[in-house]
Amino acid sequence: MTVDTIKETQPAAQVKKAPVGAVLVCGGGIAGIQASLDLASSGFYVYLVEESPTIGGNMARLDKTFPTGDCATCIISPKVVACMRDLNIEVITMAQVKNLSGEAGNFTATLSVRPRYVNEDKCTGCGDCVERCPVRNVPQEVSAVVVEEALDKKDQDLLDGLVEKHKGDPGALMPVLEAINRIRGYLPRPLLEHAAARLEIPIAQVLTVASFYDKMGFDAPGRHVIQVCNGTSCHSRHSQKLLAALEKRLGVSEGGTDKQGRFTLKTVRCLGLCALSPSMRVDDVSFGRVDISDLDKILGQFK
């Protein structure tokens, strides 16, 4: 932003009685506002210089104040209004102090004030100019999201099929993510990015949804996924012992994949086999009333 106007401010030298003179306060945050009000009520003329378009600073953006939890706006609003109304306070916004010369009691400050592009005397703050602004309101070409990494044929076909199947469905994201997760075992990042681009949904939203659901994962699991039921009925029939036995056998803790990449061990909140507890599932094969001595036989079926 270029400097358009330079304002010279002179201290009011004619005032004789104490306290005399004027004070320049830099910064229109809560501290600057309060300092200005205090100085003005002590009889000084105050120049309150603020760099941004308005006074209020950070506190005006806060909901609550630490540590009392008081409402921030309720504290600052009356002070802002008082500041603007006080005849002894001159608020100069969009300004920076460029130079300061002189000595204690007699300074000359040089300010650089940026333009507002509106007639400040007539402005009521209605905001219509923003709507009509010929510079700001030029339609911008939205460039299509380009994903750098290309997908391999298999993933591309998978995505094409899913996008085709759910074309025009406003809730397509869930079924698409669920299907990718089910077929690929997890949600590979490139596939997610491509899916986001194809469905025209921001990747951030895709990740929000994907990370919400327990079943969806971002890491490749082992060749087989073991799910130990941790439902209430299974808990009451000692599913914890079953889980511990599996953890020991595979050398991983819950959520981990063994060194050979053969099994990933997970727990699930109820497989719906409550009368056959404790139960577990390997891939899509369920096992009821599992005894720890059966584990060899069960795991042996999955290479």
Binding site: E178, N181, T208, G231, S233, C234, S236, V268, R269, L273
Partner: protein, 599 residues
């Protein structure tokens, strides 16, 4: 299309085809192949049956069926004898299958010792008719199926065809009366009349809240807007319940028919069934059933030539309990994270994509068709005045006959546990019963004699919720169970609102303190305070009720908790009274510090 169903005669034609496979006349072997059966090795039993039939070159068909509910006897194999009864064999193995079948093929022998029960006939609930089986002298000593402890007192309305039909055959469902209710509603009734009929039947939502279904439909019907939706909630996330899975795996058409009727009554052109992804078989069976119904024109455009169109599709969940909450479920179908919305507005006015939406549970939808075919009065004659009809409970834990029981409302827990359930395993005493999903917690045996109504256990802070009944014997600890249930909520809280996100963690921590001997009298006061705060301030039902198990444990099992706190001892010997590693509380560093402190 020529083969679409338009009239009652078309249904008759399909029913005839269905009867031919349902009651073939020759020997029919049925293997219970729902997820529960398969988990116990039903596939191997079926393979053995097929091989044996082949070996003897016998004239017999081997078919899969759903789960009849007697899960603790899985795998089940049934033989429907030519001109004889249907005989059920439990706890089958491939060896036992070969033995039983070989004996029959060699000399027509049926060993009464191996058999579980004998069916004298099949009730077709939808039509009110029944199919009688024949009798043979050799089988007369086998106890009658309906007189088994497990079956006595049960009334199968929702599970009317589970364990009898091949769930992959729409003809067999039609042979037992399916789609007659939809035909009646769409061709002879106005939508308002359908709603009146449902209102008159007194049907209430089986998802756990027991809101009158007719009312809900009426609200949605009267809501403004042309586009409306209906949803079947099959996100059976509450641990300890498997009835929704069983109904879909055993009789998917019960749900589809209910939804067709509902769509017509409400004015919804599109429906979704939201099934949790932990139920892959249920999803496969349901998708197949929808395909079959579409081919016959029972779904799609101009159903029964009535001009009414309705399409139905399956949506899979992805492992989030909170999606069982209707607004969380709606968010999920819309393609968002399943975080519940603040209500009001309720889904009946602004649900899916802001349109009026009715969300009902699987059991509710499955109850609709019989009300239409048999009448509201017939339905209202079952159950209690306040809550009519039947519902399914899942009996499990330390009970002899674990499985699903469908009973009229008004029954007591004692009748179920000691009657159908055959009492506590190994002759132990019942110490507590965990009911209603994780949000209720444990109730003491002194409450077993209260009749279950929709508010369930009247005047007590417990309700049957989703219907899981987990029997705990003396060897289990209420503190441990309560902590386990809170751990569930810690995992499943979506994190949107602070009372639930932080409250569940703090409660879990306090219960962990009790279970590991670090608690003092203040812990209880804090638990009580927190539990009140969460109940009052959480956004959705999950957070409101997460404190339920704690409240019930404090009310009913104060002695046991005091023993943990004052005596630093777990009477059942379950709690280690040492600091556990898998603490849900705090960061990793905090856990480490705690571990050092605890030694």
């Amino acid at each position: 299309m020529s083969d679409t169903v338009k009239t009652s005669a078309d249904l008759d034609r399909l029913a005839k085809a269905g009867s031919a496979t349902l009651y073939p006349g020759g020997l029919k072997i049925l293997v219970g192949s729902a997820t529960c059966g398969l988990a116990m090795g039903a596939q191997k039993v079926e393979d053995a049956a097929v091989a044996t039939v082949k070996k003897f070159k016998a004239d017999a068909v081997v078919k899969k069926t759903g789960c009849i509910g007697f899960c603790s006897r899985e795998p089940l194999l049934d033989m429907v004898l030519p001109n004889g009864p249907r005989i059920s064999f439990g706890n089958m193995t491939p060896e036992k299958t070969r033995e039983v079948l070989s004996a029959y093929f060699t000399n027509g022998a049926v060993s009464p010792e191996a058999a579980l029960g004998r069916f004298t006939g099949e009730d077709h609930v939808l039509t009110g008719e029944s199919h009688a089986y024949g009798t043979i002298p050799a089988a007369q000593t086998i106890p009658e199926w309906s007189q088994l402890d497990f079956m006595r007192g049960q009334k199968r309305i929702i599970m009317r065809s589970c364990g009898s039909i091949d769930p992959m055959s729409i003809e067999e469902a039609i042979a037992r009366g399916a789609y007659r209710g939809a035909l009646k509603a769409l061709t002879t009734m106005k939508p308002e009349q359908v709603i009146e009929e449902i209102l008159a039947s007194g049907l209430r939502g089986r998802g756990g809240a027991y809101f009158p279904t007719g009312q809900k439909w009426k609200f949605a019907r009267n809501a403004k807007g042309d586009v409306k939706y209906i949803v079947c909630n099959a996100d059976e996330g509450a641990p300890g319940s498997s009835m929704d899975r069983t109904v879909i795996e055993g009789d998917p058409h019960a749900v589809i028919e209910g939804m067709i009727v509902g769509s017509y009554a409400i004015g919804a052109r599109q429906g979704f069934v939201y099934v949790r992804s932990e139920y892959p078989l249920a999803i496969a069976i349901l998708e197949h059933a929808i395909d079959e119904a579409e081919k016959l024109g029972l779904l799609g455009k101009n159903i029964f030539g009535s001009g009414w169109s309705f399409s139905l599709s399956v949506r899979r969940g992805a492992g989030a309990y909170v999606c069982g909450e209707e607004t969380g479920l709606i968010e999920s179908i819309e393609g968002h994270a399943g975080e519940p919305r603040a209500r009001p507005p309720f889904p009946v006015t602004a649900g899916l994509w802001g349109k009026p939406t009715v969300v009902n549970n699987v059991k509710t939808w499955a109850s609709v068709a019989p009300i239409l075919t048999r009448g509201a009065q017939w339905y209202a004659s079952m159950g209690t005045k306040n809550t009519t009809g039947t519902t399914i409970y899942s009996l499990e834990g330390s009970v002899n006959n674990a499985g699903l029981v469908e009973v009229p409302f008004g029954i007591t827990l004692r009748e179920m546990i000691y009657g159908m359930g055959g009492g506590v395993r190994d002759g132990k005493a019942c110490k507590a019963v965990q009911i209603g999903g994780p949000s209720v917690g444990c109730i003491p045996p002194s409450m077993l004699d209260l009749a279950i109504d929709s508010v369930d256990i009247p005047g007590k802070s417990a309700n049957m919720g989703t219907g899981g009944i987990i029997v705990m014997d003396q060897d289990s600890c209420v503190v441990d169970m309560t902590r386990f249930l809170l751990g569930f909520f810690v995992d499943e809280s979506c994190g949107r609102c602070t009372p639930c996100r932080e409250g569940t963690k703090q409660m879990y921590g306090m219960l962990d303190d009790i279970a590991s001997g670090r608690a003092n009298a203040d812990t209880i006061a804090s638990l009580e305070r927190l539990s009140r705060a969460m109940n009052a301030t959480a956004v959705c039902g999950l957070g409101n009720t997460a404190s339920g198990p704690v409240a019930n444990a404090l009310t009913h099992f104060r002695d046991e908790i005091d023993m943990h706190i004052a005596g630093r001892k777990c009477p059942a010997g379950v709690c280690s009274m040492k600091v556990k590693k898998d603490c849900h509380r705090g960061t990793e560093n905090a856990e480490k510090t705690e571990l050092e402190v605890g030694g």
